[in-house]
C-alpha cells in the first residue's frame, strides 16, 4: 500500500488513470470530463444573487443555465479528491507563494495575488471564448478527435508558453 502514500506517481500511470476515468464518464454519465463551464454557471449563480432574475435572461445563461449539474459536482469532487490525496501523501499545507514564483519575483504576497487574479480573469474569459479548458478541450475534446479541441489545445500552449517565457524573462528580479 506504499503507493497510496507516495508523494508523486508516474505521469504515465496518472495519464492512463485519467484516460480510463474518461471511459467511465462516457459510459455511466454520458459526459466528457470538463471543468470551465462549471465556473461560468457559478458566476451566473453569484450574479443572480446580486442582480436577481434579470441575470438568467442573459443569452449566455439561457445557453448554460446557472444551476448545479454533473460537471459542477465534478469540480467539487476534484477539490475533495486533491485534498484527500494531499493529506495522504503529507503535502497538505496552506501556502500563498509557490516556490518558482518566489525564486523569480520574491516572497511579497500582493504581487502574487494580483497576477493570479488577473491571470484567472483572463483565463476564465478565454475558456468561455474558446468554449472549453485544458480538460474539456485539452483531454476530452482531443481524445474525441475534434478539430475545435485540437486547435484550442495547441493555442492554449502557444499562448501559455509565450506568456510564461515573457513573464519570467522580462519581469523576474
Amino acid at each position: 500500500m506504499d503507493w497510496l502514500f507516495m508523494k508523486q506517481w508516474s505521469p504515465y500511470a496518472v495519464g492512463v488513470g485519467i484516460g480510463i476515468l474518461s471511459w467511465f464518464t462516457f459510459l455511466l454519465s454520458d459526459k466528457p470530463i470538463g471543468c470551465s463551464t462549471a465556473f461560468a454557471r457559478t458566476s451566473g449563480m453569484l450574479e443572480r444573487f446580486l442582480r436577481g432574475s434579470k441575470t438568467t435572461q442573459r443569452p449566455y445563461y439561457v445557453k448554460f443555465p446557472p444551476t448545479v449539474d454533473w460537471e459542477w459536482m465534478l469540480v467539487v469532487g476534484i477539490l475533495v479528491g486533491s485534498f484527500v490525496s494531499a493529506h495522504l501523501s503529507g503535502q497538505l499545507q496552506l501556502q500563498w507563494i509557490p516556490g518558482k514564483w518566489s525564486a523569480a519575483f520574491g516572497t511579497a504576497l500582493f504581487p502574487r495575488w494580483l497576477i493570479a487574479l488577473i491571470g484567472g480573469i483572463i483565463m476564465g474569459f478565454g475558456a468561455r471564448w474558446a468554449g472549453g479548458c485544458t480538460s474539456g478541450h485539452g483531454i476530452s475534446g482531443t481524445l474525441q478527435l475534434a478539430l475545435s479541441s485540437w486547435l484550442a489545445a495547441v493555442c492554449f500552449f502557444i499562448g501559455g508558453i509565450a506568456a510564461a517565457m515573457a513573464l519570467f524573462t522580462f519581469f523576474a528580479s
Binding site: 504515465y12 484516460g19 471543468c35 449566455y60 469532487g77 474569459f125 508558453i161
Partner: protein, 185 residues
C-alpha cells in the same frame, strides 16, 4: 442499457462527485495541482503536464472509440471556429501562464491548500467568466463564428472510418512520448 442510468439526475450528480474525486486525486498525485510543475511545463523545463495529457488522450481515445463502436457511448463534440478556438485559445493561454493553474487543477490546488489558487485563481475565473457572459451577444456577432467549422472531427474531415485516425494518432502520440524520454525531458 445505460440510458436509464443517464436519466437519473440525483444519481448522476453523485457520480459526478465520485468521478471528480478520482480526477482530483489523480491530478494531485500527478503533481499538476502544483504551480511549479505547470509553470515548468510552460517554460519547457518540466514535461509532466504534457506527459499526463498525452497518455490520458491515447488511453481515453482508444477506450471511448471502442465504446462507441460497441454502441455503448456517443461522442460529445464542442463546435468550433477559427475566431473562437484560436483567439480564445490564445487568450486562455496567457491567463494560464499568469495564474499557473487551469480551471480543473485550480480546484485541486485549492483542495491542497494553495491560497493563490483560491483568492486569485478561483475569484478571477469567476469574474472572467461573468465578463464573458455579459458581452457574449456582442462577441457572437463580431468574432465567435468567424471561420466556423462546427462539430467537425478529423475522421469526418478526412471522410474515413474513425479507427483509421485513432490507430495512427495513438501511434504518433506514443512516439512523441518516447521521443520526450529519449531527449531526457
Amino acid at each position: 442499457m445505460f440510458a436509464h442510468l443517464h436519466a437519473q439526475k440525483g444519481l448522476q450528480l453523485f457520480l459526478g462527485l465520485i468521478m471528480g474525486f478520482i480526477f482530483g486525486f489523480l491530478l494531485q498525485r500527478g503533481g499538476v495541482t502544483n504551480y511549479d510543475i505547470i509553470i515548468g511545463q510552460l517554460l519547457l523545463t518540466d514535461f509532466t503536464v504534457i506527459k499526463i495529457m498525452l497518455t490520458a488522450v491515447i488511453t481515453g481515445m482508444l477506450g471511448v472509440h471502442m465504446l462507441r463502436s460497441l454502441g455503448l457511448a456517443q461522442l460529445h463534440l464542442k463546435p468550433g471556429s477559427l475566431g473562437a478556438s484560436v483567439i480564445g485559445g490564445l487568450i486562455f493561454g496567457v491567463g494560464f501562464a499568469l495564474l499557473g493553474y487551469c480551471p480543473g487543477t485550480v480546484a485541486g490546488a485549492v483542495g491542497q491548500g494553495y491560497l493563490d489558487a483560491l483568492f486569485g485563481g478561483v475569484v478571477g475565473i469567476l469574474i472572467g467568466a461573468g465578463i464573458f457572459a455579459a458581452i457574449f451577444p456582442k462577441l457572437e456577432g463580431l468574432v465567435l463564428h468567424k471561420g466556423d467549422f462546427g462539430e467537425l472531427t478529423f475522421p469526418h474531415l478526412l471522410n474515413v472510418n474513425p479507427w483509421a485516425v485513432v490507430i495512427p494518432a495513438a501511434i504518433i502520440l506514443a512516439a512523441l512520448l518516447v521521443l520526450f524520454e529519449k531527449l531526457g525531458l
